[in-house]
């Protein structure tokens, strides 16, 4: 009771990065709250993943392992999660803000009538005073997230309802294993007693999931293009520069929407958050929705012909110029100067 539960997401028999990032964060929150960290693992043949969860600090792992649960299905997964939360009564429940987490968490929160905050970028513990009643709440979870298209940052609290629920996007929080695994306990859930046949009315008839091929998060150098690149043909220049630098290619939402680049490359509030050593921004105006996903980069170079583009204000080097001119010059100069 009163612990923190992290929902563990798996794909192809592997634990998702976002779940390990959440465990890392929840570990420090649980220390602050002097409570235990628990993990909920649902799937088919997933029990073998327990050791990795202990290595990330789980004190207790609840496992629902059943061949019918190999792929995520809303109804059985939410039935198990709801049942576990009702019996364990955690104070906090965390989910990845993935297509699974964002399908599961709201359904669970509705059934439990507990507050849920989507896409948090930061989680902290703090106190809260209700302005009307003057009642003071200690040790609440501050759920901090961008809102209004990323133009404001809101801090949300759930004073009176438990668990306090939040989803967090992949890549926002650090992932750090312990040196030694925790000696924790395992709780095998009796799946058959929780689920009914009616939980399986929606069937998956086909699935084509690719392994994460495009991994812009892990790349130390990123070249990202925006709508200002102009066309898919022009976008090739962005790929060319990335290629010679050994970098990954990113894109703004507008560029993805325009079909210049794959959705997996989208950086910003609705895409991934990156913090590379070097971020080269090409033809991106620098709307806050985008910069929220890259402004922690160690160094930013902006290329934009508009001297007033907001991106230039957060750049370390602001190149005001035509990308069709600048990018080939950068490629040429790099080839000349690198050994």
């Amino acid at each position: 009771m009163n612990n923190i539960i992290v929902y563990i997401e798996t794909e192809n028999g592997k634990i998702s990065d976002v779940s390990l990032e959440l465990l890392t964060k929840a570990r420090s929150l649980s220390k602050e709250l002097s409570c235990n960290l628990e993990a909920l693992l649902i799937g088919g043949n997933v029990t073998k993943l327990k050791d990795e969860l202990f290595l990330y600090g789980a004190n207790k792992i609840h496992i629902a392992d059943d061949p019918r649960l190999v792929n995520y299905l809303t109804l059985p997964y939410s039935a198990i999660t709801i049942s576990l939360i009702k019996s364990e009564k955690p104070q906090i429940a965390l989910f990845g803000a993935t297509s699974v987490g964002r399908d599961l968490a709201p359904r669970v929160s509705s059934a439990l009538h507990s507050g849920l905050t989507a896409d948090c970028t930061s989680l902290e513990i703090g106190e809260h005073t209700d302005t009307k009643s003057g009642k003071i709440y200690n040790n609440l979870l501050y759920q901090i997230r961008p809102a209004f298209g990323g133009n404001i940052i809101a801090t949300i609290v759930n004073p009176d309802h438990r668990p306090q629920m939040a989803t967090v996007r992949e890549g926002v929080m650090k992932k750090e294993a312990l040196d030694k695994p925790v000696k924790g306990e395992i709780n095998i859930l009796d799946v058959k007693s929780i689920l009914n046949d009616t939980d399986f009315v929606v069937e998956i008839i086909e699935r084509q999931i690719e392994d994460k091929k495009i991994d812009i998060k892990g790349s130390p150098v990123i070249v990202a293009g925006g709508f200002g690149v102009g066309s898919k043909e022009n976008f090739q220049l962005v790929f060319d520069l990335a290629h010679v630098l050994g970098a990954e290619v990113g894109a703004s939402r507008a560029a993805v929407d325009a079909g210049f680049a794959d959705h997996a490359r989208q950086i910003g509030q609705t895409g991934v958050t990156v913090r590379p050593k070097l971020f080269i921004s090409v033809g991106i105006s620098g709307q806050i929705q985008h910069t929220a996903g890259m402004d922690q980069s160690a160094m930013i170079i902006s290329v934009n012909s508009d001297p007033n583009a907001p991106i230039h204000q957060i750049a370390d080097y602001a190149i005001v110029g035509d990308l069709n001119e600048v990018l080939p010059k950068m490629i040429k100069s790099y080839k000349k100067n690198s050994k």
Binding site: S78, P106, F148, I152, E206, Q208, A247, D316, I319, S338
Partner: protein, 291 residues
């Protein structure tokens, strides 16, 4: 008898946060909400198109919009009518004020119970909040399955809908019975444009509130024409427990709002001339920023 569906579209009027241009920023760097146009939430448009396609395939089906908001949100319903919907309901009541996603879902679910649709279709998320929570929460409150991230409603066979979902790293095709709630992803087909006939037919569609506020002294006896009436429903119309609406029905509270202000930091201005680019690249190489 051929199959027909009653379809409810959940649509939201939102400030156009995608176009926060210079004129929408106040001098202190914060957003001037009043300067943002109110639009039909983009993914709700994709949802509407999926419903209209079902209606094309199953003539006699009915497409109704349901929106919750202040009286001006009736614009959303008219926009839907212009594009092929058959009607709509504006859910509006002071008691809904301050609702978070859960209280919103409760209100919508109560209205849906009254409308009794076979299929509910919504956009995946609204651009002002980006939470994607209302769809699944409404489905839970109605105790029906949900299919999120839909890209295409492929067909209806043997009493089941086949739906293609767009996930982060691929696609999934699922079969679901009805009633079901579907949320539609931005990669789904865009909505068809306004239809001239529908526009002529519905341009005077309005709510009672709009009728009473009408400064133009319309000659049309609107309320003698049933199809031009956009019903407004409040708590009294949809029933339910008042404690579940608005602020009191919202577990989440906003503790603090910070406006994002662009902070100028020291940045070095360069041009596209050869010396500047060459100098920069050399600097990056010597600092081992690039290999």
């Amino acid at each position: 008898m051929t199959k027909t569906f009653k379809i409810v579209i959940l649509a939201k009027q939102v400030p156009d946060t995608r176009n926060v241009g210079k004129n929408a920023m106040k001098e202190d760097g914060t957003v001037n909400r009043a300067a943002l146009p109110a639009i039909f939430n983009p993914e709700d448009m994709n949802a509407l198109e999926q419903a209209l396609r079902l209606k094309d395939r199953y003539p006699g089906s009915e497409v109704l919009l349901l929106t919750m908001g202040p009286s001006r949100a009736a614009e959303i319903i008219r926009e839907g009518l212009f594009r092929g919907a058959d009607g709509g309901v504006l859910l509006t009541d002071r008691k809904f004020a301050g609702a978070d996603t859960l209280a919103t879902s409760y209100a919508l679910s109560m209205a849906i119970r009254k409308m009794q649709p076979d299929i509910i279709i919504a956009g995946r998320q609204a651009i002002d909040g980006d939470t994607a929570q209302v769809g699944p929460q409404v489905a839970e409150k109605l105790n029906i399955p949900q299919v999120t991230y839909a890209e295409d409603i492929i067909n209806f066979e043997n009493e089941k809908l086949t739906i293609k979902r767009r996930l982060e790293r691929g696609i999934e095709i699922v079969k679901t019975p009805v009633p079901v709630l579907i949320t539609v992803h931005a990669t789904a087909a865009p909505c068809r444009p306004r239809n001239a006939k529908q526009l002529m037919k519905y341009k005077h569609a309005r709510t009672l509130t709009e009728e009473q506020d009408n400064e133009h002294n319309s000659y049309l006896p609107v309320y003698s024409l049933d199809y031009l009436r956009i019903p407004e429903w409040g708590v009294i119309d949809v029933g339910g427990d008042e404690i579940n609406y608005g602020l009191s029905g919202s577990p989440t509270k906003v503790k603090k709002i910070e406006n994002i202000v662009f902070q100028a930091k020291e940045s070095k201005k360069l041009t596209s001339c050869d010396e500047d680019i060459e100098g920069l690249i050399k600097e990056l190489i010597s600092s081992h920023t690039i290999g």
